[in-house]
Amino acid sequence: MSLLVFGMVLALLLPILVVCRRTDVWHRLAAFASVSTKVAMVMLVVSVVRDDWMVGLVGVIVLSVGNGAVMLLANLLQGVEG
């Protein structure tokens, strides 16, 4: 299981790398969304492995609410650009 967590963190580095480069704001937004989902998944896996209900609850909440925030940002950005 620790191998799985290691691989997940490695995959998490890819969108972080994209965010750190200078790119279009939309690409950056998509990368941030990916980071949000992946962090929540890492949280869930760690919680299940450690058998900790509360951390898992936080993971589920991050999974749903974190994406909602990026959604709002996208709407705002469309209003600014259009």
Binding site: L4, V18, A30, A33, S34, T37, M41, L44, V48, W53
Partner: protein
């Protein structure tokens, strides 16, 4: 003979579930890498969104299924995560795609 086989059935089932969950987890990780890799390239924004849909929605769903097979004790949490992940992430891809288009004047 068959009695021994029947008595051993839970063990066999558990081993099968372990193997299947390992396969699912590995496949999910593979989807993550394969779907995130095009982000580094020079593809168009919408194409990247297609790949992100693969990696984040489908790959994560596979991982959650693998976890569900392995740890049955926390199933309500995992089922909730699976539901919210699939629905929410899909709609999220739609919102990102729709918002990146310039708004049309009616």
């Amino acid at each position: 003979m068959s009695g021994a086989l029947l008595a051993d059935a839970p063990g066999v089932l558990a081993a099968l579930a372990q193997g299947a969950s390992a396969v699912l987890l590995g496949l999910g990780l593979l989807f993550w890498f394969a779907g995130s890799w095009p982000l580094l390239g020079r593809a168009s924004y919408l194409t990247k969104l297609h790949y992100l849909g693969i990696s984040d929605t489908l790959g994560s769903a596979l991982m959650l299924l693998g976890l569900l097979l392995r740890f049955q004790r926390e199933w309500p949490l995992l089922v909730l995560a699976l539901l919210s992940l699939v629905v929410w992430n899909t709609i999220f891809g739609y919102v990102l795609a729709a918002c990146s288009q310039p708004r049309r004047r009616p």
